[in-house]
């Protein structure tokens, strides 16, 4: 097993280098540069000397291969450099935003699992019943609604309901407070975005649970268990659900790594100062160092999650051998 993990880790090196090269090239293909974004924003004239000073500051005068080596070398030694936009260490920029995003991602996952697994199971057990149809319709609606639309609507609903209940509209604060400072306020801020993301996430998970359950329910050992006269509940809980969970766990893992994409839009809708919003800002500001670090972070998370999921998978299911 250790050999398998080592092998997988070695295979991830080209992925990381490839992703590094891709983001490096993509960012530099975008016309213009950070100095123009910085100085041109307001429509006044850009002073030529200010532009020159800015270019020197951000190191735009270094050659491309050197810049790439800096980036790879820095990444390998854990030195992510300085954000070209704010002049602050990239690690600090990311660390400031990570708690909000992580909190929402974890909460959304919890929401998704709590909704998806029971409903997906019921849906499979009652295949093609009206219950199944309703559950599937709700699930697919979650996948079909643009996430920003869901977010904007959910705030409006909160505003209207609170006005109806208390006479004046209420919404959570738009100034994030960390969990350890004021847990209640913090929860009121993160709950809506977590639900919005969690709904979509649960829809995907629910569909996977349903089809995995359907497949497992047709396996011989389930028939045997049923034939032995075991209680249906026991069959489902002990035998079917446990085995159906394998692909579901995989999906949850992979989707967790993909959450960053969902956060990009949701954090904008709810005005959260998280990683997703930082990502968009970094790309639009043409902040090479920050974008590169963020891409490498997501790629690394993706690689690690995949590895963990695969190892878990193999560990849970003895039929899979480490190849």
């Amino acid at each position: 097993m250790y050999r398998y993990i080592l092998n997988r880790l070695l295979l991830s090196i080209p992925t990381l280098i490839g992703a590094a090269a891709l983001v490096f090239i993509l960012m530099r293909l975008i016309p213009g540069d950070i100095c123009m974004v910085r100085l041109g924003g307001s429509g006044g004239s850009i002073s030529a000397s200010a532009l020159a000073v800015c270019h020197a500051q951000v190191g735009a005068d270094r050659s491309m291969p050197l810049q790439f080596l800096d980036f790879i070398g820095g990444f390998a030694t854990g030195n992510f450099g300085i954000s070209m936009w704010s002049g602050k260490p990239v690690v600090l920029e990311i660390a400031t935003r990570l708690p909000v995003s992580l909190e929402i991602a974890i909460l959304a996952t919890v929401v998704a699992v709590l909704i998806a697994i029971p409903l997906g199971t019921i849906s499979a057990l009652k295949q093609n019943s009206w219950l199944d149809h309703i559950v599937r319709t709700v699930a697919i609606a979650g996948i079909a609604t643009p996430s920003f639309w869901l977010g904007i609507l959910s705030i409006l609903v909160v505003l209207d309901v609170s006005r109806w209940l208390f006479g004046s509209p209420w919404m959570p604060s738009i100034d994030y407070v960390p969990l350890w400072v004021d847990p209640l306020q913090n929860l009121s801020i993160v709950i809506l975005p977590a639900l919005t993301i969690g709904y979509r996430y649960s829809a995907v998970t629910m569909r996977m649970t349903r089809s995995a359950m359907l497949e497992v329910l047709r396996e011989d050992y389930i028939r045997t268990a049923r034939a032995k006269g075991l209680l249906e509940q026991l069959v489902v809980n002990r035998h079917a659900l446990k085995n159906a969970m394998l692909p579901v766990v995989t999906l949850i893992g992979i989707e967790f790594a993909f959450l960053i994409g969902g956060l990009v839009v949701t954090e904008q809708v709810f005005n959260l100062n998280g990683i997703g919003r930082l990502f968009v800002q970094a790309v639009q500001n043409q902040d090479y160092t920050l974008t590169q670090a963020l891409v490498m972070l997501t790629v690394a998370v993706f690689v690690v999650t995949n590895l963990v999921v695969d190892v878990l998978y193999a560990w849970l299911d003895p039929r899979i051998r480490f190849g």
């Binding site: 213009g32 002073s47 000073v53 704010s86 935003r97 705030i155 505003l159 004046s168 100034d175």
Partner: protein
């Protein structure tokens, strides 16, 4: 008042409220929460940055030498002292301005502020040392030297006398920094805050919010009224409207679109107050004359003729942050063209059938009957994309097919600078109304580096220079007309769109603040108080 045809700065209190807002005595106390409609600015240094996000986040911490009168901010000519003791009369044929500096001013660290701090800050703005940048160096071309003969005096010596100097000096970004700090580390103010303004810096949550508390030693008696403030970065409009609705924030100081105003007034009635003003910002539709067929003035004129300014402005004002038809000059300025003067130019015709027939004829003559082109725009909704949608539909009425291509800020500038566009939605948005300098935008690039029309025109430059050196107001106005007519009608170097409208919606308990034609000024919060 004929001249100021479009000029309005109105205070509309929603519903029937007749509160004598101005007669009340300010109450002390309270924390004021407002939103900055942008993402985090690159740095906190007003001297180096050029985005309103920096200004709206840091203006409460700093003092400036002079400022637009906070009690009369809609005026384009009313400047008052902030750190000086009185507004000086120029000497030496208008080439020397001597300012006496207040003696009762302290920096937030407790040390006294002297003329030496003012002089050095201005020296860094006007002539930054090597390796230090100054974003508005080019606005200060008229300044020769800034001197500090004694601890109470700062003297500005100009290269030539010009009425453009005082507005430039009232630049809201021109914070006064501490000499010692600036000399030791000119980049210190990028990441730190230390001024002498009405509020002391208390916290900056990077990318999220900035907070300040009352400066008890503030030198303007009685001010500030607030105990403190919280400014939250909120880039998306729906969030900002919702936040005002739920009273999570009092207001924002850039300007909201009409739809947001309508929603808030409908929802909150007299709990919100609306102030509107013409805004010193305008979008320009600039053809790239290096690209065919836009090198042909007939084609450019046809594009201008097709647009119905007079019908478009009132309609657009219902959905976009634009309002007043105008020429090159801000409609609130005495130098601006009247409606009668505008109509004389073909681009401002009132007989659209005739104008569009003429446009089609011109296109035919130019051999560009089925003209198709790409309109390049910046990734900003209000009002850029609204202007583009409108213009494209107007052009379709003379058979011209335009598509819109939107670029983020960086690529947009690169395309402008490298001339890789056909027609662009440009913008001219200046900190302070200073028409003589603002209209320089249409001068060829050899003179004005931020012109992207791709033309050379000695006659236009000559017209400008004679206007700039004219001292008689009436004659200067006539020369402005000649310059404007030549640029907009004879050459059609750019096509005007309605000037912007600034709409500020605030919770009604915010008092003491008045709207101005610029979202860069009157932002230090010293005059704001909460009636709660």
């Amino acid at each position: 008042m004929k001249i100021r045809n479009g000029w309005r700065a109105t205070l509309v209190i929603a519903l029937l409220a007749t509160t004598p807002a101005l007669a009340q005595t300010p109450k002390k106390g309270g924390t004021f929460t407002y939103m900055i409609p942008a993402d985090a600015p690159p740095s906190l240094d007003g001297h180096k940055e050029n985005t309103f996000a920096t200004l709206q986040a840091t203006a409460p911490f700093y003092s400036t030498l002079i400022a637009v009168n906070p009690d009369n901010p809609s005026s384009t000519t009313d400047f008052v002292c902030d750190l000086c003791t009185e507004m000086p009369k120029p000497t030496d044929d208008g080439k020397t301005y001597t300012f006496k500096i207040r003696k009762d001013v302290k920096f937030h660290d407790g040390t006294p502020l002297s003329a030496a701090d003012v002089a050095l800050s201005w020296q860094y703005i006007v002539h930054p040392p090597k390796g230090v940048s100054s974003a508005r160096e080019s606005y200060m071309v008229m300044v020769d030297t800034v001197e500090n003969p004694d601890p109470e005096t700062v003297v500005f010596k100009l290269k030539f006398a010009t009425s453009a100097f005082l507005p430039a000096l009232a630049d809201p970004y021109a914070y006064i920094y501490k000499k010692e700090t600036l000399e030791k580390d000119p980049s210190w103010f990028e990441k730190n805050v230390m001024g002498s303004g009405p509020f002391k810096f208390s916290a900056y949550e990077i990318g999220q919010s900035i907070k300040g508390t009352r400066n008890p030693d503030y030198y303007h008696a009685g001010q500030p009224y607030l105990d403190g403030f919280v400014a939250i970065f909120a880039a998306k409009q729906s969030v900002r409207v919702d936040a005002i609705r739920a009273d999570r924030a009092v207001t924002e100081f850039r300007g909201m679109p009409p739809s947001a105003r309508d929603e808030l007034v409908k929802e909150l009635g007299d709990k919100v107050t609306v102030q509107t003003s013409d805004w010193n910002c305008v979008n320009l539709l600039t053809p790239n004359q290096k690209k065919k067929p836009f090198d042909d003035v007939k084609v450019r004129r046809a594009l201008a003729l097709a647009i119905d300014q007079w019908k478009g402005a009132p309609a657009l004002s219902k959905i976009a942050t634009v309002h007043t038809v105008g020429g090159l000059v801000f409609p609130g300025s005495p130098l601006a063209a009247t409606k009668d003067e505008l109509i004389k130019m073909s681009a401002f015709s009132t007989d659209m059938d005739k104008a569009r027939a003429e446009a089609k004829k011109l296109l035919k003559e130019a051999g560009a009957e089925n003209l198709k082109f790409e309109l390049m725009n910046r990734n900003v909704d209000q009002p850029y994309k609204f202007i583009a949608t409108w213009a494209i539909d107007e052009w379709s009425k003379i058979g011209v097919k335009a598509t819109q291509k939107v670029l983020p800020t960086g690529p947009f500038y690169e395309a402008l600078r490298s001339g890789s566009f056909e027609v662009a939605v440009e913008f001219n948005c200046q900190n302070l109304v200073n028409p003589l300098l603002d209209v320089a935008k249409v001068l060829p690039r050899s003179v004005y580096p931020e012109n992207y029309g791709g033309y050379e025109d000695p006659k236009l430059i000559e017209l400008y220079n004679t206007m700039l050196t004219e001292t008689d107001a009436t004659k200067q106005r006539e020369k402005m007309r000649a310059f404007e007519t030549y640029a907009l009608d004879t050459q059609v170097d750019t096509i005007m769109t309605p000037w912007w409208e600034r709409i500020i919606v605030a919770r009604s308990y915010m008092k003491g603040w008045k709207i101005s034609p610029s979202h860069y000024i009157n932002l230090n919060l010293a005059n704001i108080w909460l009636d709660k």
